[in-house]
Each structure stands twice: as C-alpha cells, then as structure tokens.
C-alpha cells in the first residue's frame, strides 16, 4: 500500500462483511465511495443536506447520512448497506415487511428507510407509533404518504418478535366475477408489487445508477442573475484545468437547433444572448470526473449587464414591464394548444377562454353572488431522484438514458436539435425515482446531448436537488371566481379569471393552463360559464406539470367559493355540493365525455366517514372538496407481447415505471389475459429502441390506456395461438378454445402454449408477437377517456396558541371503476393526499430578489412522517364503468386536486376567517385566529373573548 498523501487516507474497512483496504480521497463522501468505488448503488443520494435519509447506511450499527459523512469514517469500522441485509435464507424481515406492506412506490427512499428501521428496531424492538415517527423523522418519502411505512415497521417488529401472522390479508378480494362467472385470478387482487424485490434489496437501477462506460461528467455553470444580457463568457482558465474535456456554451451549438419545448420551442438549451432566470445554465463544463467538472465550473467567468426583471405575474403584466421573450417562436410549435401572443401584453405566453350561456344575464338575476380570490404559490414536486441524464453518440445514433416520464416526447425535441430521424434517437428510462409530472417532457436531455455532440464522448449530467429546483417547478396561480346562485343553492353561472405564472419558459404550462381553465368550475352543472386564463412569463424557474396539473391551483378558489356560498345561503356545504354535482350521463363541458360516474353517491360514501374526534384545547373542523380531471391524456398507446417457445410472455411497453405501480398492473393484466402464472410474465418498459410507442406516462393514463393496449396485445396472442392450434391439429379454428394456460380442442386434446409454438414452427420453435393498439376511436372517440374524480375530506386539529395545523383524519375516495391492484390504488391515493397536505400546510417556493430563499429540503418543507394523518379511511368505489380493462379508470391524481381547498375550508370553519392563500403555515393560521377573534369581539361590541 503506497504511503498516505495529504489528500488521501488508507482505509481498512468491512463493507457488508467484506474486508476492504484501499487509499481513499479525503474529500470522498461515504456515499460516493460506496456507489462509485465499490459499485454498491443501492444506497441513494437525494437532498444532500441530511434531511431525507435516502443515503442512510450503518457504520458500526449507527445510522449515518453517507452523503455527508466522509468515506474515511469507514476506517476500522463495519459498514452495512442495503445490499448487506439479504442472506441465503432470504430477505431480512424488515425488507420482507416493506415489500409485503407496499411500503414503497418509486423505491428511491426505500434503502434508507430500511436501514433506518434496522437501526430503530435494534435499540427498540417494539416501538410505538410515536417512537417510529420520532426515529424516522429524518427519512423522507414522497410517494407512499408514510402510513404503509409505519405499518411495515410494525410488521417488521412483529416478524422479529415471532408474532407476525402471514395469513392476515391486507385487503380482501372484492369478489369481482368474469363474464363466465368465475373470479379473476390476478386482477382485482392486492398482489405484492413485482418490483418490490429489487427495490427492497437495492438492486433496482435508476438512471443515476447507469452511466455509459467511460463516461465524462458534466456540471453546469448557472446564471446568478434573474434577467441579464450576457456580455461574454471566459472559459480559458476552466479549460486549462487538467481533466477538463470541454466547456460548452451557446456558441458551440452552431449548426444545431438551439432550443427545445414541445409546446413553444422557447427554451434555450444553453442561455444564448441573455439569461431569463437565476439558475439558468450558461455553460456546461465536461470533465473526466464530476469533482473536476465542479471545480472547473467555478473558474468560468460570465460577464453580464443586468436587465430589469419581472419576478411575479403582476410585475410581468404591468404596463412598462421588461419583455422576457422578444421572439414569438411562431410556426415552430408542435403543440396541441393554440398559443396566442399579443403585442400589448408581450409577457403573456398564452390566453385561453372557455364558456357558454349568457353569464351577465345570469348574474343579473342571481339571488346571491359570491366572489373569491386566492393565490396558490409555486411548488416543487420533489421527486427524490434528482434530474439526471446520460448521452452519447455512436455511429450517428444518439443514445440517451434519463429520468424522463415521456421518453417518446423527449425524442421529438432531441431529433429537432440534431436534425436526426426519430429512429436514430434512442431514449431509455430505467426505474424513475419519483416523477409526479415533474419529469414529464424534456428537461436536461438536450443539455447532456449537446455536450456529447461537442465532445464526442459519453456525458453524464447529475443535478443536485438545488439544481433540480432551479430546473422545474409547478405554476403559481392567482384565481378569481365569481359565482351566481339561486337561493335554493342552484349554481346559475360562474365567471373565472386565472393568471398563471409559468416562469422563464412555457414547458408544459400551456397544458397546465388549459387544464386549469377546464377544472376551475366543476364538476358541477353550470348553465352559464365564462373563464379566461392567461399564462405569464416571469424571470423565475420555468414551471410545468405537477400531479393534478392546473387543477389543484384553481380548485382552491373554486371550492372555497362553494363553501363561502353555502355559509351565505344558509345551506349545508355538503348539500350545496349534492345540489350541483353533475349527474351521470350529463355533459358538463360542451363536446366532452358526459359524467361517467355517480358523484353524489361517491360523495356520500366519503362524507359518511369523516368525523372530528373531540379533543380538549384544540380548534377542530372538517373540510372537504370535489374536483374532476380529464383523465388519460390523448388516447394513443401501443404494446407488444412476445411469447417464447417456453410459453412465457414478455410485455413491451413504452410507459414508464416511476413508482405508480404500472409494472405490476400490466403484469397482472397480461397474466390474467393469457392465463399464465404471474411468474411467467415480465413487463419491460420505456426504451424507445426496444419497446413500442407510448404517448406519455401522465394524466393517470397507464392503467387504462396502456392497460388496454397490453390487453389487446394479449388477445392478439391468444388469437394467434388458436390459429396455430387449428393448423397443427388440422381442424377448423372454431374447434379450439383458450382455457387457462392451454389451448383446448373440442375433442379434449389440449396443448400448453410453449409446445404448441414449437410444433407450429418446428425446428426448436420460434416466438410469436401480439400487438395491441389504442387510438381515438369507438368508446374513446369522446374525450376525455374517463373523468378522474378527486374527492377528499379531512378533519383538522389546530393548536389555537401556535396555529400549528394537523390533519387528524383523512378520507380518500377512489372512483376507479375496477381496482386492478387495490393496495396500489390506496397507495396512490394516500400518497397524492399527503402531497396535497404538504401544499396545504407547508410547501411554497419563496423568492427573495433574484433567487429562491428556500431551494433546499431544509427550508422547503415537504411532509415528514409525523405529518401523516393519524387516521385514514380509504374508500374504493368499483362500478366497472370505466373505459379501461375490466371497466377500470385511472387514479393517482384525484386526491391531490381538492386537498388545498379542503384544508383551507376546515381552517376557515375553525377560525372563522377564510384564508386566501396557501400554505397555511402556523403563523398564517395563528393570524387568522387573531383576526377571527377580533372580528367576533367587534361584532359582539365588547372586548375580545378569552380563547377557548
């Protein structure tokens, strides 16, 4: 062993029982050492600020944040990582419990949670819920809503104590029957996720874990101005750093199409001429290691001349506002939404209108007019795997690995940049560590790809969480709703104005706005409607999709408006919903699918469960809300199913698995359709060179749209097998049938699929391929493909002295037609609800001058385990009335829609004052309480009453 140098230390350690002795750079963190030097990529890195716990490993049985602990701390110590838990006897009890309880979705936090649970149970073998919350407070999960994790920890404790009952089913089969009167074998059942095994053992591979061989690493130089002209970029000093391969600036993109954007191609790959927000990439340093690239990036000097900046929509709409985009990019868009730009409002990227009836007349004859104005702040979706991507050019092909939800959409942007045919751009997406819409459409793939083009090397670009926050956020929105009511509670008209802040670039915000415009008034029957929505450029982080896009921002105003109206009409707020909810079969938006479910019945089932559990010394109230999303996005999907000569099936789908459970659902559908044991089915997803086209993975569409294409591909396989049997048996095809995993002849002969394929081909057999296609036709002609219903009810507790607000009870209502995996449905619902609770109570991106005040997980507060509701009631409604397989409809976003409004209404009922903005932080709620007390005191004409 060479002598130690100043920069390195010899480390003797034991990792998962294996002795290691090697020189280690002092500056290496334990996570970098484990992941990059030892190839133990099960340990994940996310927040990089000791908040999230994804990187938790055990050092001498103590839990540590391996992203902040130096690798040298492993010296003379024993390190245990997620890879070290499984033994020859199988999974560790903690791993088994997490798999069994579906205590994971995207799986990115799972290794950290499991290691933290190991540490917890080692010192406290039977923790209470409070103790679990205390010890796991430092582990974040953005998918599950934590409640399944708490259940898993309790189950793990029981397994270790020998008191676990494996026969206790989580959710019994609902008893659905097939057309032949038999129960389904695989669908409608709460199976363990097919990816649970790889996710609890750390074997699941994400984009961040899969660099191309011999890759370089890139680090972006980012703007430190909100709006400025770039006078010059001095790259020489950085270029001279040993190990630096290139410093890429906009000048290097000569000959390329230098922008991207699927709706408006306004997004500079690298800022050219000027920067439009703090954090925008100005140059990209490419080097042999990420450390070198980072060090050299600090040596790139950019000279700017500041321009006036518009930091919010109001400033951008002001008469003398600085113009953020001089170009209208007209004629280049590939969008579905008509973009309108006007001279007199140059920062308005798009204006949309929706309406019918005589709104002014309706308001004139109304018994009551109620107006509500709210502001919904910008949010960060916090998918735990930060944006990252790898790119390389090989023989004229571009290959990209990334965290993209929609690989086929990314191809369109990349093909335009390099003027390549789509067939020569390959985008593959391994497991995604959370998406929630924030990874839809193109993000950093063009930046990575141009670096690969300039350097002709493989390039990997891994963003930090701070950089991810400076890449995409959710739109902020100011919404004004005026509603006209008859005194019996009937809505006569609504008049809505929406101003949405899209930041520096449009990204998918034109869709966000179009959704907001369609989701700001219903699902109510409204005779007269007028909605105007404007999308405004500002000098802030570009905004785009986030779970229930557009809907949650405007639902806050729309639903608190209903509650305020109920108060003024003297009608119970729940009854006001019942009066106005659109009945099944009624078309509440012209040209759209009539309501495809029984909303009042759904609503009643939910309301029957919500109740305040009285407690002394707290303000308590119930809140609830309703919304509806157009589900399914555009109905284009394709799938292939390949059956091998051993009779096993490989499903090829371009949809992505980002935690929502699509791989399990598609596996269940294929196993059910083919009659195959689930172990014989594999679903392979999201590689444009290997899987078939999928439009997108968003809009809660995969179960229905991809589910249909997979179902059709399986049925195509069955038809082929029937024809093959008829050929082999030399009989009419009418004589053969598909029964279970065999083809059966009327005379009793039968054959399994594998041998049949072999006999038909001869010579050892071949493969057959089934194809399934979904397009806008038949049942799907009328859009949306289904209505995704969003209904939640909450009971909140408020500490009257501090304003701290806690959701004590959560009731979710999933109207999914047919729950193919009921535990998956519940996981999606509670996960969406908890994101809504975050938006309702604590989450908000705050600008201070040019930059964000809280671009990190220390100060941007997402829900922690202690913020999970104490009680959760889950309602799943299955009327088999959806357009998806077996009558399924999509889910996963609904619960996100009305959560902010539901919490706001509960707080209003408890304090007597209507909030006008989210989040309802402790201080805001405390101020509402003060305001309410003051108002009541004034009304009583006396001094302020004692707080009760």
């Amino acid at each position: 062993m060479p002598e130690e140098t100043y920069d390195e230390t010899v480390v003797s350690t034991t990792v998962n029982g294996r002795r290691i002795k090697k020189r280690v750079e002092n500056r290496l963190t334990l996570a970098e050492f484990l992941r990059e030097k030892e190839g133990l990529r099960g340990t994940k890195v996310s927040c990089e600020s000791q908040v999230c716990g994804a990187c938790t490993v055990l050092v001498d049985d103590r839990p540590v944040s391996s992203c902040t602990v130096l690798a040298v701390e492993a010296d003379e110590a024993e390190v245990t990582t997620i890879e070290g838990l499984e033994t020859e006897a199988g999974l560790d009890p903690v791993q088994a419990a997490f798999a069994d309880c579906t205590a994971l979705q995207c799986g990115y936090c799972t290794p950290g949670f499991i290691m933290s649970t190991k540490a917890l149970l080692a010192t406290n073998p039977s923790p209470t819920r409070e103790e679990i919350e205390h010890e796991l407070e430092g582990n974040l999960c953005r998918c599950t809503g934590y409640l399944p994790i708490i259940e898993a920890v309790e189950q793990a404790a029981a397994r270790l104590a020998g008191t676990y009952d494996p026969d206790a089913a989580h959710r019994p089969y609902a008893g659905h029957l097939k057309e032949d009167g038999e129960p389904f074998r695989y669908v409608g059942r709460s199976i363990e996720r097919v990816d649970a095994g790889v996710k609890v053992t750390g074997r699941a591979r994400y984009a961040i874990d899969t660099p191309f061989p011999d890759t370089t690493h890139a680090v972006a130089v980012r703007s430190d101005r909100a709006h400025a002209t770039i006078l010059g970029i001095d790259v020489k000093v950085a270029l001279d750093v040993p190990g630096v391969v290139a410093v890429v600036t906009a000048e290097d993109l000569d000959g390329l199409y230098p922008r991207f954007g699927h709706m408006v191609p306004d997004h500079a790959i690298i800022a050219a001429g000027k920067v439009r927000y703090y954090g925008e990439p100005v140059a990209l340093v490419v080097a042999e290691t990420r450390h070198i690239a980072r060090d050299a990036a600090r040596l790139v000097e950019v000279r700017y001349e500041d321009l006036p900046a518009a930091m919010d929509a109001e400033a951008a709409l002001a008469p003398a506002a600085p113009v953020i985009h001089e170009d209208a990019y007209s004629g280049e868009a590939v969008n579905q939404v008509a973009i309108t730009r006007t001279e007199d409002e140059p920062n308005v990227a798009n204006t949309m209108h929706l309406g019918w009836g005589d709104v002014d007349a309706a308001f004139a004859e109304a018994d009551l007019v109620v107006e509500t104005e709210t502001f919904h702040p910008a949010l960060y979706a916090y998918a735990m795997e930060p944006y990252n991507s790898s790119a390389r050019f090989a023989d004229g092909y571009l290959e990209v690995t990334s965290t993209a939800q929609h690989p086929f959409m990314v191809i369109k942007d990349l093909a335009r940049v390099f003027d390549l045919p789509h067939s020569k751009v390959r985008v593959s997406v391994p497991y995604i560590g959370g998406g929630y819409g924030s990874k839809s459409y193109t993000k950093i793939e063009p930046l990575t790809a141009v670096a690969a083009w300039v350097t002709q090397r493989a390039v990997k670009l891994d963003l930090s969480i701070e950089e991810s926050i400076y890449t995409t956020r959710a739109d902020a929105a100011r919404t004004r709703v005026r509603s006209a009511f008859r005194k019996d509670g009937r809505l006569l008209a609504r008049d809505v104005d929406i101003v949405m802040d899209t930041g520096a670039y449009v990204d998918n915000s034109a869709t966000v706005l179009s959704k907001a415009v369609a989701r700001c008034f219903g699902p109510y029957s409204i005779p007269s409607l007028r909605v105007r929505g404007r999308l405004v450029y500002t000098n802030t982080v570009p905004a785009s999709s986030y779970r229930a896009l557009g809907a949650f921002q405007v639902n806050l105003a729309a639903e608190t408006n209903m509650d305020q109206a109920a108060e003024q009409l003297g009608i119970d707020a729940a009854d006001l919903r019942r009066i106005n909810l659109v009945p099944r079969g009624e078309r509440f938006i012209e040209g759209k699918r009539p309501m495809d479910t029984d909303l009042v019945d759904d609503f009643d089932q939910m309301m029957a469960r919500v109740r305040v559990e009285p407690r002394e010394g707290v303000l308590q109230a119930v809140g609830f809300g309703v919304g509806a999303n157009e589900g399914g996005a555009y109905p284009t999907s394709t799938a292939q199913v390949k059956m091998s000569p051993d009779g096993s099936a490989l499903v090829l789908s371009g949809s992505t698995e980002m935690g929502q459970g699509s791989r399990s659902i598609l596996t269940q559908i294929a196993a059910e359709e083919l009659g195959l044991d689930i172990a014989k089915v594999r679903v392979f997803q999201s590689d444009s060179a290997g899987t078939s086209f999928e439009r997108t993975t968003g809009g809660s569409r995969t179960t229905t749209m991809t589910g249909l294409s997979v179902q059709r591909a399986c049925r195509d396989i069955v038809q082929q097998l029937l024809a093959m049997a008829a050929t082999v048996w030399e009989c009419p095809v009418d004589d053969v049938r598909h029964v279970g995993d065999r083809i059966v002849h009327a005379d009793g002969r039968s054959e399994e699929f594998g041998p049949l394929i072999k006999k038909w081909y001869g010579g050892g057999g071949g493969e057959i391929t089934g194809r399934g296609t979904v397009r806008r036709e038949g049942e799907l002609q009328v859009q949306p493909s289904f209505w995704e219903i969003g209904m939640v009810a909450v009971a909140v507790d408020i500490d009257p002295e501090t304003g701290v607000t806690k959701v004590d009870q959560l009731v979710t209502m999933a109207d999914v037609g047919f729950a193919i995996n009921p535990m998956g449905v519940e996981g999606q619902d509670v996960g969406a609800a908890l994101q809504g609770i975050g938006g309702g109570l604590s989450e908000e991106l705050v600008y201070e001058g040019a930059q964000l005040r809280n671009p990190n997980l220390v100060e941007y507060r997402v829900p922690h385990i202690g913020d999970a509701p104490r009680r959760w009631d889950s309602v799943i409604v299955e009327r088999r009335d959806g357009t998806g397989p077996y009558g399924a409809k999509g889910g996963g976003e609904g619960a996100r829609i009305p959560m902010g409004g539901a919490i706001a209404s509960a707080v209003a009922r408890a304090t007597g004052v209507w909030p006008t903005e989210l989040p309802l932080t402790p201080e805001r709620v405390w101020r509402l309480i003060q305001e309410g007390e003051a108002a009541r005191a004034e009304a009583a004409g006396g001094s302020a009453p004692e707080a009760d």
Partner: protein, 267 residues
C-alpha cells in the same frame, strides 16, 4: 449548487499534543462533521486541513468529577441522550440531545462540534446555558475554563483562540426541577425553552429565536411574569415566522414549560 467537497488534508491525531501541532499547521478541528462537512459542501468554508479529534481518548467519555458532570467534546449526541448519568444529573441536556436533528445527526454529531459551530438554533447550547455550564478549552499553552455565555458569543461565533480546542463541557450536577420544550414544525426548532428551578430562583432560557440563547430570571416559578420577558427578547425573523409571531410563541412555550414544571413539582 453542487455539494461536492474540495480537496483537503486530513490528520487523525491520537493525543492532544499531536493535535495542537496539527492545528498549528493550518488545521481546523473536525469531529462528527454534521455541521462542518455540510458547510464545506455548501462552499461556506473551505479549510485546507481537517484535524480529526475523535481518536483522542481524552476528548471522549462522560464522567463525574465531584459535583461536576464532565462531557468530552467528542461525545456524540446519542451517547448523551442514552447516558444514565446525564439523565440523572442534567435531564434537560439528555432531553435536548434525544430530540435534536434526526437519528443520524444524533448518532454522528458531537457536543463539541455542535457548540463550536454555534448555530443559533443549537439545542445543546440552549440546554447548557440553562444549566449554567462551563467549557474547558485547551491549547499547547495550557487550559482555561469559561462560562458558557462567555464562550458562545453570537451566531457562528465562539471565543476559541487559534490553536485552541474545546476539551469538554462542565455541567454542575443539580437536582433542581427542570423542563425542556421545543417547538419544531420544520427542520430546525423555531423555539426551545428551558426552565430550571433551583433555590436561588427560576431560570428561563430561550433558544433558537435569537443569535444565542437568552436567559431571564424570576424569583420563583409562581412569580414568573412572562409578559415582562417578551419585550426583552432579541428575535430573528425567518421562514418560520415573523418577529411578532415568534415573540408570541415564546410566551406560549414559556407558559407551557412553566405548567409542565409545576405539574412535575406537584407530582
């Protein structure tokens, strides 16, 4: 924006004299690293030379020296929280160390590192101010002992000379009734309140709202006038609250702590 560490030298002395030599060679003290490494990752500091003090036995351990509880500066929070000795003779310090940060920070961070970093929201500092602790500092030239409030001077500011290190904290053993309450709806405490009631009177310590913990006195628990304290407080505004809200909260939590103390007295 990217939390990668710059290059640095690392020394791991086994004795104090070695440590002093290394500190004199451009070194800065490094123990748990939960604060220092994080600050280095953020680019706030870039020391050329870290001197790891964890391998010096003299800086470890929790022991009684007469009527004084001595806690080595390299002792980790979790050790303090789990120590029967601390739980018995300085319960609010054990409580503070059991609740601060998260499980990993408690298992990695040290009392000394926490104090020397002097984050205004330090629970350790609040508890030690409340207990009237002292610190023992050592250098090649000898040692000095300072009251905690003469050591922690401001946000990220301690009275530590070049070449000097924090050896231990000295906590007077007490059986005085005491209470520690934290209010933490976000990642760091918004407020921490410690009350210690001994024969000389009631000591009220308010942490996390100002640059350093602030102490107030009352003749006794029954004579505590919370309203008199509030105007005296120095309050820093941040995303957790405005100045007026935080001042209000201090009143709430001092009252709650007083009620808890009264309850434990009556029990």
């Amino acid at each position: 924006m990217i939390p990668l560490l710059p290059t640095f030298r690392l020394s791991r002395p086994a004795t104090l004299p070695e440590a002093f030599d290394l500190l004199a060679d451009d070194g800065i003290a490094y123990v748990g690293g939960t604060e220092l490494v994080a600050a280095m990752q953020l680019g706030l500091v870039s020391p050329a030379h870290l001197v790891d003090l964890k391998r010096i036995p003299a800086l470890g351990g929790i022991r009684l020296e007469g009527e004084v509880l001595v806690i080595g500066s390299a002792v980790r929070h979790v050790e303090v929280a789990d120590s029967e000795l601390v739980r018995r003779s300085a319960p609010i310090l054990a409580r503070a160390c059991a609740e601060l940060g998260n499980a990993r920070v408690r298992a990695t961070g040290t009392v000394g590192g926490n104090l020397c970093f002097a984050d205004p929201r330090s629970d350790v500092a609040t508890a030690l101010f409340a207990l009237g602790a002292r610190v023992r500092l050592r250098s090649a030239d000898g040692e000095r002992v300072l009251p905690i409030d003469e050591f922690v001077l401001g946000a990220m500011d301690v009275d530590l000379d070049e070449g000097e290190l924090l050896d231990s904290v000295l906590v007077p053993v007490t059986v005085a009734p005491q209470v520690y309450l934290r209010h933490q709806p976000t990642e760091y405490p918004t407020i921490a309140v410690a009350l210690v009631s001994d024969p000389e009177g009631l000591r009220v310590t308010v942490g996390a709202v100002g640059e350093i913990p602030q102490r107030f006195a009352a003749p006794s628990l029954d004579e505590l006038d919370v309203e008199a304290i509030l105007p005296e407080l120095e309050v820093i505004e941040d995303l957790n609250g405005s100045e007026s809200y935080k001042r209000h909260l201090v009143g709430v939590f001092v009252r709650r702590a007083a009620a808890e103390l009264k309850e434990s007295n009556d029990a």
